[in-house]
Each structure stands twice: as C-alpha cells, then as structure tokens.
Symmetry: D2
Subunit: 381 residues, 4 copies
C-alpha cells in the first residue's frame, strides 16, 4: 500500500494531476529542530529541469509543513507535508490515450483497479516520490543529529558506462553530496561522468532513453540495526529500493559479484577497534546476519531505461488493435541522476524505523539485571 | 521481526539447538485440502545430506501439523507446524567459541541482543528456514489449486560458472521441478551442472566454500498482484528474498543488465491475446508499475559463499585478541542447491499475501455499480 | 499511532493551531462515486456552533479532496482530505499556561513527548476527529452502496438523564439520522431530549460540564465480519470507540447489564430465515464468537464530562506550585451530541476494514473445489 | 487475526481437539530470566477443575518452551510455547451437532469460513486463551522486573451480586493475587464472595449459567504509555479485553457511571509529588489523553453468561428445522473466576507493547540536543 515503516511510518498520496502530492510522517521523535528548508533541499535535488540532461519542465515543488511542528521543533505528532501540483486539471483525452504505454503502468493499473486515471498510471507517476523524499529528509536530519550518520548516493553507471569497480568502492567510503552534485549526471568520477553525459545526450537526440545504477552508502550507522529474521536490514533496504519506480535490482556489499568468490576471500576478518571489533574488509556491505555491524553500509540499485520515449512504437491499443504510439512532449532520457535523492530518502526511511525499534529494545533491556557473563560469549573457566 | 505478510501471515520460531523449529501460518483460506505430506515434500528437498555436494548431516525433519486442519482440510484458523530438533542440548563451550565467526552473525547478534546463543548466531541458523518452507508449501498448494500457478527455482550459477543467459531465459519459461532435481546441483542445464559440481567438490576438498545464483519463475500468476506504491510486487519479492540467510542481491526481469539497454529495446510492446493483452517480450519480468501483468514473473537471487569454512582463519576474539579460528566438523561448501526450495517458498508467501488483498479489492469493487466507460480508458466520442 | 485499519487504512494529522487538519485514506475500493459533498455532510454534523447547546465557535470546516479521485470516482489510490484551520498561529503564552488542565492531556503529552504544543494537548484536540469523520464518510458511502448498510448513532443519556432501556432498544432497530437530528441534543426520544437539554443548559450556566452515552447501530451488515481471535468485531469496535477523545466505556449488545442475566435468558435462539438462520432475540448485539451474524450490531459508548470548564479549579502548576486555574473563553458543556457523527465514522472504519478482509477470504476460497459436506456441519449418513 | 501487538507480538494457535495449543511470542527483550515455571503459575490459575464452581475436567496444561531461551534467559528471539491437548481426536458427530449452539460461535464460524470444525466453534474454544495467558506471563515478568509493575484482577460482580462500588475502588489500590485467590470465586470481599458462590451453585443446580464483571488494576506503570491518537492506552486495553471470549463491555476509571458526573467533580486535580505531579483523585483511571499518568490504571470487563448450558433449548438446526438441543456433559456455570488470569494476561500484553514503543521514542529523543525551555511549558520571561 502507500505506507512504509512500522514505528517511523510514512504514508504518501497524490497523482500527477490532482491538487497536491505529499505525505504524512508518523513517529518522528519529538524535539527535532525542523523547518521546511531542511526538507526543501532534497526536494530541489530531485526536481527535474535542472539541466538539459533531464526533463525541462520546471515543477517548483515548494513543500509546506501542515502539522506536527511548532516554533521550529517537532512535536512527536504526525507531520503532514504537501506540495501543490501546478497542473491540476485531469488530462484531456487524445489519440495516444487509446494505447497503454509499453512497459509503463497504464495497463496493469487499469487491470488491477478497473479504472484508469486520465494521467495514465497516475499514481505510478514520478511525482509520488516527492512524499518519499520529504519524509526521508526528516529521517535523515534525525539520523545525522543523533548519530552523525551520512547517507550519500551517486550514479555509478549509465547505459553501460560504469565507474571502475575499485573506484566505485573507494568512492563509497569518502564521497560527499557536494562532490556528487559537481556533475550534472551525479557521478563523482569526472572521466566517467563525461562519458555518461554523452550517452544521455545521444539518447535525447534519438528520442530514446537509457538506464543506470545508483550506488548508495550509509556511514556511521550504529551497530545492531535490522530485525531478523524477516526484517533483516538488507531485506528492508531491498524492499525500500525496489519500491522506487523503474528499479530492477538491488545488491548489498559484494552483491552478484560476490557469488563468484570463495569463502576464504569473501569472509571479513575481525580486528580490535576501540572497545569493540571491526572488520578488515567489508564484502558484507556493513550487514551480517541481517544486522548492521558498524561498517559502511553500501548497496547498488538498478534502474531500467524510462518507458516513455518519443519514438514511434508499434503496439496494441486497449481494445487490442495494433497501431503506432507516438508519445508527445519531451521526456526524461535517463532518470538516474534524479533518482539519487530518492535512493537516499528511502535509505533514511529504512534506517530510521530500525533505529526506533532497536532503541526500544536496548532501553528496555537496560532496565533488567545484567545477565551472567557466559551469555555474553565469555567462556566460564 | 519473525513475521512475514499481512493477510497470509507467517511467524517462524526456533534456533539450532532448541526443542523444535517451525511456524504459525495465519490467514490460510479455509477448505484447502492439506496433509503433512503436502508440506513434507518441500522440506525434504531443503534437507541437507542428500549428496556429497551438501553437508552430510541427516536431519530428518518430519513436519507435524499441530492445528488448523481437520479431516484433511484447512479450517481457516492458524496452522502451527513443528519439526523436532535432533540435537536439543545447548552447545558446550569450546576454544573456538571465543571467536565470532567471520562474516557470520555471531558478533552482530551479541551486539544487538546483548546475549549470545551457545550455538552462535542461533536464530541465524539455516534451520530457521524450515518454517518458511513449510508455510510456503501451503501457500503454493493454494496458488496451484486456485490458479494453476507454478513456481520453479533452479541454480543458474555457482562460483562463477553460469548458465548462458539466453539458455537461462528459455529455461525460465518451461522448466519443471522434476528437471531441476535431475542434477544434484539443481541446474537443469546438464553441461553447466557438471562444471558446477566440479567447483563445489573443489571447494569441499579445499575446506572452502562458494556462492551462486538461484533463478526463480512464477508462471500463470493472475494479472493485478502487487500493492503500489510501497508494496509493489517486486519490492515484496525483494524483501522476501533478501530475508533468506546469505543472500546479497535480487534482480527482476532484465535486472542489472537491463540498465545498459535503450528504452526502445527494453520496452515490452503489447499485442492482443484472448480478451486482453500480453507483451511480445518480457524484459519487465512480468511486473509493470509494481503490478503483475500476466507474463512469467522471473527473478534472480545472489547467495554469497557460506561463511563457515574449515580452513584456519586469522581473526579477532570477542575480547579483541588476534588468533586463529579453525572451524570443526564438516560444512556445506555451497548452499545454493538447498536454497532452491527456500526461494520457491518465499515467492509463494509473497504472492499469496498479494492474492488475498487483491481478491478483497476486486470482490468489494464488484458490489458497486459499474463506472462510466471513460474511466476504463475508452475514449468517449 | 495515527493510523487505523489494515486494508482500509486511515492516517490522521493535525493539531489545533497548525495549518490544516485531515487524513490520508488508503485502500478505498476503486470505482466508488465520491465528491467532497459526500464527506461534507458528516463534517457539518460534527461542527460546533450549531446551537447554544454546543460551543459557539463557527469553524467552517470545508473539506478539500487533494487526491485519489477523478471525474467524481475513486481511483483506488490514497485519498488525501484536508480542512484548513482558521486560527493557525501558535498560541501566545498566558498565565493559565502554567497549569496543566486537570483531566486534560496537557501534562501527559508533555511527559510522553518531552515537548508541549502551545495549544496544550495539541493533538488531543477535538479537531483531530475531523480526519476520522471524513474518512468514515467514504467508508460509509461504500458500505451503503455495496450492502445497504445503515449506521445511525444517537444520544441515549446525558448527565444521568437516560432514555428508558426498552425505548433505547426499540429505537436501535428503526431510527434514522433525520430523526436523530430533530433535537439539538440528538436524542430521538423527545421527552428525554427535553430533559437532557435542561441538564446541558444548567451546566452551561454553572460553567460546568457533563457526560453522556452515545448508542450506535449498524444495520444490514453482512454475516461473517470480524477476524478472530484478536480482531473480533467487538474488539475492533471497542478499540475504535475508545480511541475517540473523552470516552470511558464501551458495551456491545446486552453489555454490563447482560452480566446479571442467566444463560437461559441471554442465549439468542435460532430460527429459519430465508436460506439461512436468524436469532429470535439479540442480546449478542449482532456478533457471536467475534463474527457478525446478520442481526443489528448495536453498542454504547460512554463519554466523560469535558475537562475544560470555566470554573476556577485549584490545582498544581507544571512546576508543582498550587494555584487557581480559570479557563478563559466559552467551552462545550457536553460533547455528546457532536460525538454522534464521530461514533458513526469510527464504526464505518471498523466495518470497512473487516469487509475487505472477509471478501478477500471468500473470493479466494471460492477458487477451490467444494469441501465434503461433513465439513459444513451436515452429518454424513 | 491471531496476532496481538506491534513490537511485543503474540500469535496464538490451536483448537479444542488438535494436537496442541500455544503461541509464538516475538519481541521479548533479551536477557530476561525465564523458565517454564514462570509461565505455568498463571496457566494453572486459568485451569478449570479447581473446584466445584468451575468445570470438573482436569486439563493439566503443562507448558513447554520450544525456543527462544537458553540457560534460563531469553535470547530476544521468538519464544514458542506449547501445551498438549489431552483429547486430540476430532469429535464424533452426534445428534446435537445438527444444531448450532445458541449464542455460541458455531453458526458464525461456519458462515465465515465455509467449513465447520467438528468441535463446534473450534477456535472459539476457551483453550485458545492458553496461548494468551502464557505470553502474558512473560510480559508480566518483564514489567515486574523492569518497573515493579503489579497487575491484579479480581471478580467484582457475579450474576448481579456485586461488590459495593467504594469497596471495589479501595480494593483496586491494594489487593494482591494471594488475596484474590483466597476465595474460589476470586472476589477479595469475603461477604460478597459467599453470595457469588451461592449464585453459581444455584446456576449449576439449574443447568444454567451466569455472567459477571472482572475488575483489573495495573499499579506502578510508568508515565507516558499509550500511542495517540488511535492507539490510546485505553483503546488498546479495550481491544485486548473485548478479544477475550464472552466479553460484552469495558470501562476505564469512572466508566459509564462517570457519564453522570459534572466536570467539576470528575476532574482530577494535580498536586506536587516528588519531582513531578500526581492527581488527587483518579476518575481518569490512570490515563489522560490516551497516555498513562502514573496513577493506578483500573478498568472493568463484562462477561456474559456462558452460552453452553445443559438445559433443553428450543432452537433451529443448521438446516433450519426447529428442534430441541440438549447439551451433553457438564459445563462451566460461570467463567468469571477463571477469566481473572486471562484479563491480567491481556493487560500485560497491551502494556508491554506500549513500553517498547515508548522506550524507543524516549531513548531516540535523548540523542538530540535539548529543546528550548518554552517548548516544555515553561513560560519565557
């Protein structure tokens, strides 16, 4: 449905042509300093029309906090966030509306709900992600203030042009959002970025589109996040990421490449670090047994080429007749750069929920008498 | 936590050395013919000790239905399924217990819960998957009887030895479980299977381990499953798969490779089929806009090499001191063949929940007056 | 939290002095004819200022549909409903703000959240119920169109003045909303209504307040609603009702009086009715074993006297010092008449969720082969 | 469904004649000392056959911990608890099985699920409450060890014989379980208890049954429990209580009587107490605005007379024909004494979930910088 999370719960609403889009965020810890500007930053990063690499519409997208804060602080009550739609008229019917767009949500939405929003998939519009990004920005602010957590996503591949894997892994451990935003394509490796831009411009010229990969890292997450067995941290991250429109894959740490390794290479050996342990390598991607281990949590998300292209496409109408669909207007040839703040937002939402649940456990356990030392892995002599 | 699903809800329990493992399944439709044998089939397929490619312990694992059926039919009430553990003694402490196993759950479980099961990760044991497989078998039986749904998983890659991609895709559309089980490694391509076996035997000799990929297909799923926006079908499948121990990645349809394609190639054009539409190609993997479109749903799941190997490993103890951990006993060099029924089970659980929710919507909507035709995508003239 | 329901899910937001209040309703069946006017009717019924029996503020409360409908029909996507607040400034501090209002939520909210909304309890304001009433109106429209369900609540007691019990029970079975609204106090028994008005006017003169009881009936609910064991229909109704501000009790059917009866009197005997059965009496209140049986579902909800009164009250300040709190302004001496549409709304929300879940079960079960007749209670000869 | 709670989650299973009954409890804090004996105490208190006031069957009901503990401590993983059924054969059909028992769940279960357990309502059997009592005992142990919380329920009315209201309220504030168990009827007021016993024995002689009221108190609950708006503490308690078989009503604090009071009497004035505040009276029943305020939480639960009586009852068969149903065997004439530990268990479950959620909030908020003092209700000068 349209709700994500158990204790930090986000419910989004809105289609392309309704009055507004947005969300209600429930479970935000009280006492967090929060203004619309904290949220606007990420909304602006997801906005289209920032360059000729993305769709030229200028959507504005100013967020308004409807509830849940006073004097610049959260009250612990639900925060409703809204963004007005510019174009609020249901769409006029035209010739192309006879055709469900290939690989888009038009046909499946009609089959599922038995009705069809005039704006096609309606709810499958990228505008739905506004609510996610807004809610994610609040989560992120909490995570940063409470733990110093940094979440940074970047584009690691576009249409087959990919950062070298070792460069990608180095990048994971140190990249900042400022660095990511230095190129329009949001790839912090400038050589690769240039090639990616060429691919996107070529798609744009060809009225075509292409996909790509977003890599994301969460740094300084506390140890202990994730709720086995079904809500392992990577499972919830995968759920979060595959709920973003146009995604086709998710991998954590070594991912699909890790399947080719031997255990002796893949295992992350421990070493002492402060009062605890850390691992020398991080093929695990910061999660072991479904629980964060304090290392960088990094993962990759695959995005398919956007389905809406301006080329003529020979396909079938709703009624079954073959014909040619020619999409009007200009369309985004590659959504991956704009997906960067969406991936960051969904990561923040997943983490935030886990933080609240784990803190509830830890604080409750702390009220009990200590357990005998052998239950802590210390061998009784 | 240990519950998966909203309307078809599975809650698992059990560690390696407690009395029993199993689950409660709530929301099973009443009136389904069901005996223990329906469930045992898949439990037996997941059992270790079936060959020298997997761990030699013979766990037996006979399932017992505690509740929820009478005279061989489900009552619609919770079904509790239990499997006795053979070795129910908490484990004696030994030298190796001073070391958290690298890339295993020992250390993170201790950090998260503040206590340590004597059997290491305890709940992260593969025995936890018994409850999933049992619950999945019931879901699968319903899906088969109600819709003729077929769910078949197979091993498509082991330690870098992979079925050719085109062969894999052909296999997806026709393979049966019988064919999958014809090789020990559960790869239905016999040439590839032979090479996979060599890799596993080599790992076994070297006291090492390796990973692999399981590909799974769901055939004949009805159109309309999946609950956008957050519970898109692929998002729930990804959640389900990444909750399986040792998984590192998930991709649906064209997956990561699809990111390299152009929209014009990737788009699945429609054509008339019976009273509806189908797509000529299926890069979407049977899901568009988060909703099943009636085509085969196929996806791939990455499994890392098992963390427990018998080789000496230089690592740190819980107390932080460096030392050498030498795991005792024999260990499974590659879990992928045994993961096949677990992947099938999790697919069945994800689908089943979606079926109940969508049927509730459809049956409720059918009680209303029909909507005007323009809401169904038919242009008013 | 601020979400109610599993498949028909309402999330409310808003405090007294924020920009707007409202809700997101997820899970509304697609294809339901719906305009703002359908919702406004009940919002207007809950509005204060309708007479000198209730608080004189005129809040307006015009609802706006932000999303989820097109051309007057629901799309099956989340419906966001908003109502602007007239007074959006956080409140200035004054002398009385040093005192948590007795029996109000000021002190517990501060203790729970560690922050204090300037408008006192903030979220505990009666304005929060706007979202409930709006969401309930949609549920009610569906239930009426799909099943002919009628939900009618009325005031059966105010400050100790109560309708005679037998009159109350007769009323349950036939009363309409039109009849309820014929008296300001919303008691359809005119003699009792007149006495209730006297009590309320007396409280008003005395700067005091009083409580009362709302009785509610759901007629023509289908058989089979309710999800044992924990989500029995009466349990969910009780949850729904006790979540309304100022409620202190709930009873279904014979309720507390039924505890004094013998089983032989209390048991509702069956008799043939059409193709099924019905009961001759209805002490059960339309629910047996947690499941609706097709008879009228009726229950009673107790409301305490409003905590905010204009009389001087000797109490303690936040800092602990004793002092006199004199509430300013005019306050509602009895909320019970205004609670009528809120009780109706919460009943609709509870029912609606149960309808979707049960229809999912029934439609799914119908796909299976019929069960042997002995499983249907027909003795095999 | 059969799950209660969000973070402390109990799922029960089992009918009258299946192999076993019990539950899985997920979310138990790790490190709690726990043995089967801790649980058995309350199971034994709910066991029938303890006197001639209750049904003479001796069910034994020995609980077995299947998982989730080691060396007498909880691991934080799911705890499965099972109790064998003595009579595991599905029931033979007899003449009386043609008649759905009046006011029992036979008919509604059949209508809802389309199948009929041979043991009538099956899942509506009192044996289902074994899982609740077992899970509640664990929650209660945590609450006692962590906070010193005491939960005590007692019988305050049977068949119209009631403790005087003022006596009941005094009892609430001091009664112990030991005192409650001193009379068979579990009413700690010996004069009233004697009269209650007479009523029950009379019912027993007459092959009839009667209802009653259980009053319950939770002492020393921390301030701040309850999750407004929908999960107010009293709403969750009401849900919990009305999910117990045979319940018809719930009231908190002043309850239905409070509806007759004036605000000036009903309001609980504050006074300084230690570093905080407490209230001089407690008509609120320890909850204000849906949140515990540190005073005793007390409430009353109404139980109807048991539906199964041995008297002949003229009713209709499943097929609609009128006839006489004569229940065989001996039946419990009054369930109220046995309901005492069930009410306590459900109270513990409701509280426990709220504790985990609130501790998660508080611990998370504590990681932020302190808020300005005016947000804490302290007027800035």
């Amino acid at each position: 449905m349209s709700t994500f999370g158990r204790e930090y719960r986000v419910t989004t609403y809105g289609e392309s042509h309704c009055k507004s889009v947005g969300c209600i965020v429930d479970g935000v810890p009280p006492g967090l300093a929060l203004t619309a500007e904290d949220i606007q930053v990420q909304l602006t990063r997801r906005r289209p029309g920032q360059s000729n690499l993305t769709t030229p519409r200028d959507e504005k997208d100013r967020v308004e906090i409807q509830s849940g804060t006073e004097f610049g602080y959260t009250l612990g009550t639900p925060i409703c966030l809204t963004v007005q739609n510019q174009d609020q008229r249901p769409h006029d019917y035209s010739e192309t509306d006879h055709y469900p767009r290939p690989s888009h949500a038009d046909w499946t939405y009609l089959q599922k709900y038995g009705v069809k929003a005039s704006s096609g998939g309606g709810r499958s519009s990228a505008r739905e992600t506004i609510g996610r990004v807004a809610a994610g920005a609040i989560a992120e602010k909490f995570l940063r203030e409470a733990y110093g957590i940094e979440i940074v996503a970047f584009v690691s591949s576009v249409g087959g042009v990919a950062m070298p894997r070792d460069r990608e892994l180095e990048t994971v451990h140190r990249v900042t959002r400022g660095e990511v935003d230095q190129t329009l394509v949001r790839c912090p490796d400038s050589a690769t970025a240039a090639q990616m831009q060429d691919v996107i411009l070529e798609c744009s010229r060809d009225q075509n589109s292409t996909g790509g990969v977003v890599t994301c890292v969460v740094r300084r997450a506390p140890v202990g996040l994730g709720e086995p067995c079904f809500d392992k941290l990577e499972a919830v991250l995968a759920h979060a990421m595959l709920s973003i429109p146009a995604t086709k894959g998710f991998e954590i740490g070594s991912g699909f490449l890790g399947t080719q390794m031997r255990g002796s290479e893949h295992n992350d050996m421990f070493e002492a670090a402060g009062t605890g342990l850390r691992t020398r390598t991080n093929h695990s991607g910061g999660i072991q047994g479904g629980i964060s281990n304090g290392e960088d949590i990094y993962f990759r998300v695959a995005f398919k080429p956007p389905a809406t292209i301006s080329q003529d496409q020979t396909t079938a109408s709703y009624a079954g007749g073959e014909g040619v669909l020619a999409a009007r207007g200009r369309h985004d040839p590659c959504v991956v750069p704009r997906a960067v703040p969406i991936v960051e937002a969904m990561a923040a939402l997943a983490l935030m929920d886990m933080v609240l649940v784990q803190n509830g456990r830890t604080a409750s356990r702390a009220l009990l008498k200590p357990v005998p030392s052998e239950l802590k892995g210390i061998k009784p002599i």
